[in-house]
């Protein structure tokens, strides 16, 4: 499967990445080179193999519904780019 410049821009947007027009051609080329490698998957006969999402056969643990984390809001906000009144600030979304 080969992608064109427009599709690469759309995928970049899905991942919230922007690509300069001057770099688009090169990026598309590189992505397509990688996809040639990935498309080899289609040639592999996987029969009735079960998809393997995780290397260990384990169940997710359950725990009591208790608060275990300390309140670190202050520490976490201290390292934020912009905060105010205990909120993380971003440009206005709704006027």
């Amino acid at each position: 499967m080969s992608l064109d410049n427009k599709q690469v821009k759309e995928i970049a947007y899905l991942a919230r990445l922007s690509i300069e027009d001057s770099e688009l051609e090169q990026t598309t080329k590189e992505i397509n080179n990688i996809l040639v490698l990935m498309d080899k998957l289609g040639e592999i006969d996987t029969g009735d193999a079960e998809p393997m999402a995780h290397p260990l056969e384990m169940n997710q643990r359950l725990r009591d519904d208790e608060v275990t984390e300390k309140d670190l809001a202050k520490e976490f906000q201290e390292i934020a780019p912009k905060t105010g009144n205990s909120h993380f600030l971003v440009p206005t979304v709704i006027e």
Binding site: L37, L41, T46
Partner: protein
């Protein structure tokens, strides 16, 4: 000189008061200062001196643990409270972690001394440690060559003896390949053996931490301190941790070693092959039995890994949005502009490529052809190993198809990906793997890979240690 001592020897030296932790720490800090390898992103000199003084007082009181006062270098992917944790990315260049990774906590609880945080491929995505933001790490055996990656700073630092050991992480070979290219010993344990809490995620079903040392004995000592269940990591294995040093001296007589025929086909450098075969002969002389095995899906590990890992990465790295921590672009005009520019300016090219491949493979209409298919191939790879381990105790082969290559010589992603051929399948199957120094080709170190069944770290370390009792490769040093 102190830097030529192994950790096992330094432990005795500290206990006998041959030197203090402060003297040992200062010695390494001086060596780091004189080093031109660019192995560190941060050198935490003041912090190290304070920790060493504290360690000395604990040693004097007699309530030290085995590793109290031993210095180390920490891969900059592990969160360290109050200390910059960059993951090798401009995105996190300003990130001072508000908490410690479990691994950082564990090493702190032994009162070990952190010398600094090591350079790495950005977000652990790469095999050469040619970092676009912090610069390339150089291989101490030839400074015009790469140290391997992604734990390249850690490997170079251990090889150059500017730290007794370093932490590493391995998602597709990132401990074993740089260990091989720098001539040191490194082990990636079974998935789930060491907590991933506070270890910045790349591909969560593959990431695993491990020690990088000069000897197998040292790896066993350090793994004892690193391994164990952690309730803060939902994929941490609730399994008891054996004393990894206990069985190091067991004889290898009757050990069954499997050689996968697929690992010795075209693409393997002749010089590397010669070193590997010599090492296998050495094992035979030690009483091991060599058996040919087949891992028919070996070559399929590349497309499977390079779908699974980017898919997980595109999801994991969506958290870097310029809002709560890390890099934020200047004067965003709206929220979307904030996301787009912060991410585009903060991430390097390879990271962006993997995010985009992941976003594409997971998008509607392509999920079955890529992600689901890759997971099925992953199952086949895992089954290949299961079959092989019914016949043999350990599998051996090369780590990397070539010795360390020249800085800047591999320019496209695909060629770089192909160099991971022998390491990826181990991560996909969640198995433990090791690299140990096995010889040289054109004056460059070559690592032998040992692959074990799940939870067989003890056996791997025993097999590695026995080799090191019979050979001198692990004592070869690029420095005086």
């Amino acid at each position: 000189m102190m830097h030529n001592l192994t950790i096992a020897e330094q432990i005795i030296g500290l206990k006998n008061r041959d030197f203090s932790s402060l003297e040992l720490t200062q010695h390494y800090l001086d060596r780091i200062n004189d080093s031109e390898l660019n192995a560190f992103i941060s050198i935490t000199k003041e912090h190290a001196i304070n920790q060493a003084k504290l360690a000395d007082s604990i040693l004097a009181k007699g309530n030290a643990t085995k590793l109290t006062g031993i210095p180390y270098a920490h891969k900059d992917i592990f969160c360290t409270k109050g200390i910059k944790t960059s993951a090798g990315s401009k995105m996190l260049d300003s990130f001072i972690s508000p908490y410690d990774a479990t691994l950082s906590e564990k090493l702190n609880s032994e009162n070990m001394v952190m010398l600094g945080k090591t350079n790495m491929d950005e977000f652990a995505m790469g095999s050469s440690n040619e970092n676009p933001y912090y610069g390339a790490v150089k291989n101490p055996w030839d400074i015009n060559r790469v140290p391997g990656g992604s734990s390249g700073g850690s490997a170079a630092a251990v090889a150059a003896r500017i730290t007794p050991f370093a932490t590493g992480t391995d998602t597709g070979g990132s401990i074993r390949q740089p260990a091989s290219l720098c001539g040191i010993t490194g082990i990636k344990p079974t998935y789930g053996r060491i907590s991933r809490y506070g270890m910045i995620a790349y591909a969560s079903s593959l990431d695993q931490a491990g020690p990088m040392t000069r000897t197998a004995e040292d790896s066993a000592i350090i793994l004892n301190a690193m391994a164990g269940f952690d309730e803060r990591d939902s994929t941490s294995a609730n399994k008891s941790v054996p004393d990894y040093t206990k069985n190091l001296s067991k004889s290898l007589s009757g050990l069954k070693i499997g050689l996968p025929k697929e690992y010795f086909s075209e693409g393997l450098d002749k010089g590397v092959e010669k070193v590997i075969m010599k090492a296998i002969n050495d094992y035979e002389a030690m009483g091991a039995e060599i058996i040919e095995v087949s891992l028919p899906n070996s070559m399929n590990a590349i497309p499977a890994y390079y779908i699974v890992a980017p898919c997980e990465c595109s999801s994991n790295l969506s958290r870097f949005d310029g809002v709560r921590y890390g890099y934020r672009c200047e004067d965003p005009k709206d929220l979307n502009d904030l996301y787009m520019r912060s991410r585009s300016e903060g991430f390097g090219d390879e990271v962006k490529r993997r995010i985009m491949i992941g976003a594409y493979a997971l998008s509607a209409g392509y999920y079955d052809a890529y992600y689901l298919k890759a997971q099925k191939v992953r199952q086949l790879i895992s089954e290949d190993f299961k079959k092989a381990f019914k016949e043999v105790d350990v599998i051996m082969g090369p780590v990397s198809p070539t010795p360390a290559f020249e800085l800047g010589s591999i320019k496209d992603s695909v060629s770089m990906y192909l160099a991971d051929i022998y390491t990826l399948s181990v991560n996909l199957a969640g198995l433990p793997g090791m690299s140990i120094p096995a010889g040289f080709s054109n004056s460059l170190p070559i690592g032998l890979q040992l692959i074990g069944n799940h939870w067989s770290e003890e056996l791997l370390l025993n097999v590695a240690h026995q080799f090191q009792l019979n050979t001198d490769w692990h004592h070869s040093s690029p420095v005086d």
